[in-house]
Symmetry: none
């Protein structure tokens, strides 16, 4: 089965929005062995979209469409679908009820234009929208399936997972071959260093899987891809390759697939019944924000202090005026006292701190932009690590947060 993805919207063509929907759908299809063959993006124009539908139906058997299902005048997908599949619209009570309920939940009166979304092409099988107002549709024309979904990513994702993928499986539209992949996420090591550490085993690894190095701001992801007849065989090959990789670089691997560093740290804290408080200067709340993105974080996260001013460092963290005077706010000593202070005041197992010069201004020859100290106190010992990052403020904040959480992870695993 060949698949095409059609994404719709002037904002995509004009580059106001980067098309992430196509990538998401491509990935989801791969998981059920369907290799996407073609992606088409067109604007909010009926004739052009009709052309795109026609071309897609000629070259593939499965078409996945997103966008243009909103209630406003520039949403043309439903109109084009009615034309292409020669279908009229009928009013659907169930959809209408769901839209009305959604507005009630939000405590907002339903604008009249949303009623339009309850009119459904008669020939379509309905996909209910569990997170928004626009329903999706499945059409079949001469053996070619069209799956039409909204462009809002979370609505499209809910439909792909809840309706489209199950439909593909139930109708035996998935392939007799599967593509499995796994990502090993590393941090604290450069791409070329990883490559060197793995180089002697590279041939063996690549006999088992395709290996790709994907650098991100968090670190380097290793992507292992296996193609084969059965998921089981692919998983086995991936597991063997993973084991070869971990033999060489396990210390740097913090997670698998979608796992984040903050999740990993949260799991370790939770499993050990340990608690943490955070004192941030240069990261400005980013670490607290990451840790509290995890549901249930109140079990281990007690408080976070963003002590931006020196006064705040003294007042609420108990850093000594003497230390600030002698060594400055960006110093190993201050980082240590911040971590110890927040731990003591919050009565937690760990205190984690950051202080540095995020930039782009504020650097000096002695303390350049990108200089960062990270402190971790557990009551008996305090570790301080020094880093020299670069000039970009947001990236410096992110790199510092990752390095801090990675220090905590290594400590929780007793590797430091």
């Amino acid at each position: 089965m060949r698949a095409e993805i059609i994404t719709i919207g002037d904002e995509l063509l004009r580059g106001f929005v980067v098309d992430t929907n196509a990538a998401y759908i491509g990935k989801k299809l791969l998981e059920v062995g369907i290799k996407p063959f073609w992606v088409t993006t067109v604007g909010d124009d009926q004739n052009t979209l009709l052309q795109a539908f026609t071309l897609a139906a000629q070259r593939v058997e499965l078409v996945f469409v997103t966008g243009g299902l909103g209630p406003t005048h520039d949403d043309v997908t439903k109109k084009v679908a009615c034309k292409f599949f020669d279908s009229e619209l009928v009013f659907n009570q169930l959809v209408f009820k769901k839209i009305v309920e959604l507005f009630q939940q939000r405590g907002v009166e339903m604008p009249a234009i949303n009623e339009e979304q309850a009119w459904i092409p008669k020939k379509a099988q309905l996909i209910l929208n569990e997170v928004g107002t626009a329903p999706g549709f499945i059409f079949n024309k001469d053996g070619c399936y069209f799956f039409i979904m909204p462009g809002v990513p979370q609505e499209m994702k809910a439909m792909m997972e809840g309706a489209v993928i199950p439909f593909l499986i139930n109708h035996k539209l998935t392939q007799n071959q599967t593509i499995q992949y796994q990502i090993l996420r590393t941090t604290g090591i450069m791409e070329s260093q990883l490559y060197e550490k793995l180089s002697v085993d590279l041939a063996n690894i690549e006999n088992l899987v395709e290996l790709a190095f994907v650098p991100t701001v968090r670190g380097v992801d290793l992507r292992l891809t296996a193609i084969g007849k059965s998921a089981k065989e692919c998983r086995r090959r991936i597991a063997s390759a993973e084991s070869l990789i971990r033999q060489k670089v396990d210390d740097y691997v913090y997670g698998v697939n979608e796992e984040t560093l903050e999740q990993k740290v949260a799991e370790l804290l939770f499993a050990n019944k340990q608690t943490i408080a955070v004192a941030e200067s240069c990261t400005g709340g980013l670490i607290s924000n990451m840790l509290t993105n995890i549901s249930g974080s109140s079990h281990y996260f007690e408080r976070g202090i963003v002590a931006y001013s020196n006064q705040a460092k003294v007042d609420i963290l108990g850093v000594s005026i003497e230390t600030l005077r002698k060594f400055g706010a960006v110093s190993s000593e201050t980082a240590g006292e911040m971590a110890e202070g927040v731990r003591r005041l919050a009565r937690t197992n760990f205190g984690l701190s950051t202080t540095g010069i995020a930039g782009p201004t504020g650097g000096t020859p002695q303390k350049p932009v990108g200089l960062v100290y990270i402190g971790l106190a557990n009551g008996s010992t305090t570790i301080v690590e020094k880093y020299q990052f670069h000039h970009d403020r947001l990236r410096n904040k992110q790199r510092t947060a990752y390095a801090a959480l990675n220090l905590l992870r290594r400590r929780l695993l007793k590797k430091v």
Copy 2:
């Protein structure tokens, strides 16, 4: 002139890489009055790419191609171009010299495989690569131009700016018209409500500009696009349309184009020489993080407290135990005391607070997931706003942070 963008790569189809090149090229073309009409993405396969070339040449006059110019076996673009334009390859000394030099600069021996990149289609006009090894090409076939560039974003961007856009201008391939756009960013109002408020003026607005509603997690962006003979005339029409829009919904417009809400708030605080401290519960540090993303934030941001536990709310914000016992941590009263407490202790002009149930767990019938209180204190008055958001934890954090910063913005503008 119609334009099509073709991006090439299995990585794109499989969703391992999100296609940012198409968005970049689309934006660049708009600046010279060329509206992208179609985007095609295909994999690293010669026949498929040949099909894509053929279709593009049939429907547009300008084709922009990226990807598949690397030195390895899965890079097929040059081969397909030779076939499509019926051209042979010739060895180019200049290109070879540049490749050798690039490796010398990097202190790396040139792999033999890179020599292949110095073979150039005879019928092509060359685009030298100033940042990488793969040269680009310009072809013309029956009046249709193909601009072929590498897929590495920084190499493609250097070619677009340094060679392709100048070529378009020199060859008078740009439109004798310009496309100007402006985005008005709103928050605190739903798409359909905005639409209703603007509906009576919609015809007038659309006589001046194209108007698009673009919902994001931050709010709804209004995109105004004007196409005309001169930039001046377009700007004038955009200004008139903006004025019509602002007459109806100005209170919700926080910024223009790339401006963020946190930037806007930072500017207002800075201009008024006012300072702020933040006390966060359900947002977990997100507001502090947003405010400290702005360079120079130490001028107005004094401290942030992430008071996750009740103990922290009492200890470092001075919320009364009585209030917590009587009304609970998620209450109007607690939000008010948090804002007042952090302001008093930090000695700032404003104290901003959030408390709520981010979810997905922790809700009760009385206090469901998504219930949020936002407090803003300035020493004389304290405002508390109540919101009912939804079930998604990260979105609830983001929506709360936006609502809080928007409350602060309105206060700074004396609208509340």
